[in-house]
């Protein structure tokens, strides 16, 4: 990000930026930066807190009033919903407990589809109250995404149905859409925590969807010469969640 600051400034447009990793900004020395103590993915702190978001925005735009640079300042407040100890997500629908992150029963694909159906009411509620969904980059609906992932695990699509050159993007986007469906559905329910850690603990620790995504990661790692190997190495399970499957 800091590199872009250099380029815009050199073209005659003043630039200011949010910094999420202070040491990177210290090294790159962009013209103006506001380091914020927020997690990756939340450069303006917290959802649905306009006053907090305004305070970050005013501070970072205010850096353009400095007469000398480079400028690197620290934002003094934590994000309002940051939690040292994540809260449990209490799903009011009756998910079957996933017993083991590493193994799943023979009817895993049917259980996975049931899980998706259970959430469907809440997904519709989420779309209604938020007037948006972030799913859909794959251009598949959630059932189609699930089918694609199941077929990949069952070896039906690797290099056949999916063009080898497109497999990485198709599988990755289907996984992201699936996660969006789950997170939007569960966070639309009343009283649920909104912080990332609580929601991640639920998704990666309790859902069959996470098991399916991890199974795809394992398959990709077993085929290191394939074009989809990079999915297993980098693009499916966050580094912070790998420990659940090891």
């Amino acid at each position: 990000m800091g590199g872009l600051g250099h380029y815009f400034e050199s073209e005659g447009i003043a630039s200011t930026q949010i910094s999420l990793v202070r040491v990177h900004t210290e090294n790159i020395k962009p013209p103006r930066a506001l380091w914020v103590p927020f997690e990756l993915g939340r450069p303006f702190g917290a959802p649905h807190d306009p006053e907090f978001q305004f305070s970050v925005l005013r501070k970072v735009l205010g850096l353009i009033e400095h007469k000398k640079g480079p400028v690197l300042e620290d934002f003094p407040e934590d994000a309002p919903d940051f939690k040292e100890n994540p809260a449990p997500v209490v799903c009011p629908v009756s998910f079957q407990k996933r017993d083991d992150a590493k193994e799943l029963t023979s009817n895993w694909s049917e259980d996975f589809k049931i899980e998706i159906r259970i959430l469907s009411n809440w997904y519709e509620v989420s779309k209604e109250i938020r007037n948006r969904t972030t799913a859909g980059v794959s251009e598949l609906d959630v059932e189609e995404s699930a089918d694609l992932l199941i077929r990949f695990v069952e070896e039906e699509t690797r290099g056949t149905v999916i063009d080898e050159g497109k497999v990485v993007d198709r599988i990755r986007r289907a996984c992201e859409d699936l996660k969006a469906y789950y997170y939007e559905s569960v966070s639309a329910q009343p009283g649920q925590p909104t912080d990332s850690q609580s929601l991640s603990n639920w998704f990666w620790g309790e859902t069959r969807a996470a098991w399916v995504i991890n199974r795809i990661r394992e398959i990709c790692l077993e085929e290191p010469e394939s074009k989809h190997a990079i999915l297993g190495k980098l693009l499916l399970v966050p580094r912070t969640e790998l420990h659940r499957f090891q």
Partner: protein
């Protein structure tokens, strides 16, 4: 607090190993009071209009986002899975505060909001984006933009 030392070791080590570009000096333009700023947002979250080309591995180009784009027209196709998306899916302003920026302009706290904003995908070397930035800056100057707010993810 999301300080580097508080991240899990695997994340911290990865972030510390990421290469940073070197610059001999830092260019620095004249100060602009907030009330005179015409602001364009530049994100690296891999955002784009629904139906526009999703980002793929190694993409260094950008996607334009018009000023009055409602939140439900934007999606994210960033390739990385190593940042939180649960804030973004609850409220776009967490990653791309276009609505808040428009509010600041309506309140008279900033001068105005640019006609067009843009998003890159961050998992790309900045050198590969340089020619695009030069082209973008030229278009922005024609729109009277004097301030760019860069927002990582």
């Amino acid at each position: 607090m999301a300080r580097l030392e508080n991240y899990p070791e695997a994340v911290r080590n990865h972030l510390l190993k990421l290469p940073c570009p070197n610059f001999d000096s830092t260019p620095f333009n004249r100060p602009i009071p907030m009330k005179e700023q015409r602001v364009a947002l530049v994100s690296t979250a891999g955002l784009h209009l629904r139906g526009d080309r999703p980002f793929g591995l190694g993409d260094a180009d950008h996607r334009l986002i018009p000023r009055d784009t409602p939140a439900n027209r934007l999606v994210m196709s960033h390739i990385s899975t190593n940042f939180d998306r649960t804030g973004y899916l609850q409220d776009l302003n967490v990653v791309f505060p276009l609505e808040r920026l428009n509010d600041l302009a309506r309140n008279g706290e900033i001068g105005s909001v640019a006609e067009y904003h843009t998003s890159f995908m961050g998992a790309t070397e900045p050198e590969k984006m340089k020619s695009t930035v030069v082209e973008l800056a030229s278009v922005m100057k024609k729109d009277g933009v004097n301030t760019v707010l860069l927002v990582p993810v």
